[in-house]
Every structure is written in C-alpha cells, then in structure tokens.
C-alpha cells in the first residue's frame, strides 16, 4: 500500500433524523483494482458501520448495487476507483426513486410494473412436458435474446427524465421485458400485454430520450424495445381501423 487515499462524498439520509439528504466525506486507501463497491465495503467495515447500501454478487449480474457515481447511474461493482482518481467521487442514491436510507432506494413501484406486463409465457395451447421442448431456432432466439439480458438494476429508470417527471410511466426495463415476451416465438400472449404496454403510461409516454440505453450496463437497449413496440402497436391500430374486415 502506498498511502494514497481516495475521497468519496457519499449521500447520507436517515429518516427521522435528517430532514433532507446530506453529504458525508470519507477517505479510503486508494487501490488501483478496487471498484467503488470495494471502497464502500471498506468504509462499512472499518470506518462507519452505519453506511447503508445494497450489494451481493460483486460481479455485475445481480443488479443490487446501482448508484449515481458523479451524477451518472452505474453499477458500483463495475466501475473502478482508478476511473476517477485522484478526483473526489460523488456517490448518491439512484435518482428518480424515493430514498429509504442513505444509498438505498425504494423500488417496490418497479416490481408492480414488472408484474403488470405479464412477464411469463402465455399460450393458447400448452404442450405437455412429455412432448419435449418448444423448438426455437437460433434466429428466433436472437429476435428477443438481447432483451432477456436485463438485470433489473434500475439504472435506466434513474437516467430517464420522463420517469423522473411522471412516476406513473411504466419505464424502460418493464417495457423491454414485455417486448421480450412479445418477440419470443413460444409466446402467444401479445394481445393481453398490449393493454398495459399500449397505454398512455406505457410506451406512449416515452419521448425517446434514449438515455436508458446509454446507461444500461447489459446492452439491453430498452429505447429500441419501446420504439419498436410503438411501431407494432401503431401498425396494428391502422390495420384495425383502415381494414376492419381484414384479419389482424
């Protein structure tokens, strides 16, 4: 260890005690290969046990550790101190969410939204297990595969100003998930998802800011999922109005 230290300015908020969030500064030993989360764990273990935040896998796949790092939503287990050092680093809870405490946000709203898009395979006729799998070619898989990569980390919600302004907005990850099932060759439930996806609070509130895709750590591209849903639903709409006799 070379004695160098990195400074982190961390948002603290304890309900009942703090009226509004405040910032607290901590110094940790600077290690080149530490991620931000390592620094937080160091603080928790050795400096201040009251600091609260979520984490688990420390390998960028469980989606727990999203925070604002210098104003940008990031997985703190996937950005390094060295990316900022020797600048001070500002750590805040993800924006656009209510704060429970310190860096912990309330995401129960998202869980309701997740459920509302019916993220499960809907079939008109079920195949028996004994008859084996539904066949799906690699091409059919690739039609939706990208949209299965979402780890529910909420970075896209923190990046989306529309969600910030309108908390009812279904939001990027939930829509991308609905789209993922719609594109799955095994699924036949598109129509029953459109009520939610195709509502004002669904795809139509999105103004294609595109920041959701920019910040997504898993290259899900929710912005594309939303715009493509708009195209599909619009096509269906015009078909059903202009060709009411035609099949949809």
């Amino acid at each position: 260890m070379n004695g160098a230290t990195a400074t982190l300015n961390i948002t603290r908020y304890l309900p009942g005690q703090d009226q509004i969030p405040r910032s607290q500064s901590y110094s940790v030993p600077y290690q080149r290969d530490w991620v931000i989360l390592d620094a937080l764990n160091y603080i928790k273990d050795h400096i201040d046990g009251t600091l609260s935040y979520r984490w688990s896998c420390r390998m960028g796949v469980c989606g727990s550790c999203g925070m604002m790092v210098n104003g940008v939503p990031k997985l703190t287990c996937a950005v390094f101190l060295r990316d900022f050092y020797p600048q001070e680093i500002r750590i805040e809870p993800l924006v656009n969410f209510p704060i429970i405490r310190d860096l912990v946000i309330d995401m129960s709203d998202f869980l309701d939204k997740l459920k509302s898009v019916k993220p499960w395979i809907i079939r008109k006729t079920e195949k028996q297990i004994s008859e084996g799998e539904y066949l799906q070619t690699p091409e059919e898989l690739s039609a939706y595969q990208q949209f299965t990569q979402c780890i529910n980390c909420m970075l896209c919600y923190a990046a989306c100003p529309v969600y910030g302004m309108e908390p009812e907005f279904l939001g990027p990850a939930a829509i991308a998930l609905g789209y993922r099932y719609n594109q799955d060759s095994r699924d036949q439930g598109k129509e029953s998802r459109q009520a939610v996806l195709g509502s004002h609070e669904g795809i139509w509130q999105c103004t294609f800011v595109g920041e959701c895709t920019e910040v997504c750590p898993k290259e899900v591209d929710p912005a594309a999922a939303i715009q493509r849903s708009k195209v599909e639903i619009t096509k269906d709409w015009f078909k059903s109005v202009l060709l009411p006799w035609g099949q949809r």
């Binding site: 302004m165 309108e166 459109q194 059903s240």
Partner: protein, 111 residues
C-alpha cells in the same frame, strides 16, 4: 386492445410520418425558399406550385411535419413540467396541426 381505444397510435403514426418527411424533404426546401429564391440563385418557382401533382406533394410536405411538431412540442412541454395544463396544451398542439391541415388544403385549392 387498449391501443385501439386510445388515439395515441394515430397521433404517433402521423408524428412518425411527419418526422420522415421533415428529415428527407425540409432541409432542401429551406435552402430553396429561404436562400436560393430570395438571393436570386434560382428564378421564380411560383408557377410550379400550381401544378396539380406538385400541390399534392406540397400538401404532404407541409401538413405531416405539423403533426410531427404537435407531438414533439406537446411532449416537450410536458417534460418541462407543464403537465398541469396538459389538456389545453394538447388542444393547442394537435388542434393547431389540424387547423394547419385545413388551411393548407384551402390554400392549395385556392391558388
């Protein structure tokens, strides 16, 4: 299907069509009417505007991007926090585009 009950796909469809028209056609027309003509790079285009199929083209050129404007402007104002007056805004924006369509139709028929 909720999409069917709401009019949003309709407006969005017009918005998109308008976006395409604006992207492909508007810049060259700005060059033509905003610079080339007043600065005398090209001679008068007035007679061209009376050709029937050019009129159809002009109708598309002018009206669709108005819907594009209506949609974007309405949502941009919402994003800027004016959602409290969402209803009147919608009337002004989309209503404006419809009024523009009627006006365009009238002008093109009358010239």
């Amino acid at each position: 299907m909720a999409g069917k009950n709401s009019s949003e796909p309709f407006w969005w469809g017009l918005f998109s069509a308008g976006g395409v028209v604006a992207a492909f056609l508007v810049p060259i027309h700005i060059i033509l009417t905003g610079f080339a003509l007043p600065l005398g790079w090209i001679s008068d285009t007035g007679m061209l505007y009376r050709v029937w199929w050019v009129k159809i083209y002009l109708f598309v050129l002018i009206t669709l991007p108005l819907y594009h404007w209506a949609h974007r402007f309405y949502f941009a104002l919402n994003d800027m926090g004016l959602k409290v007056i969402r209803k009147p805004l919608a009337v002004v924006c989309y209503g404006g585009a419809v009024a523009g369509t009627v006006a365009t139709l009238w002008v093109l028929i009358s010239v």
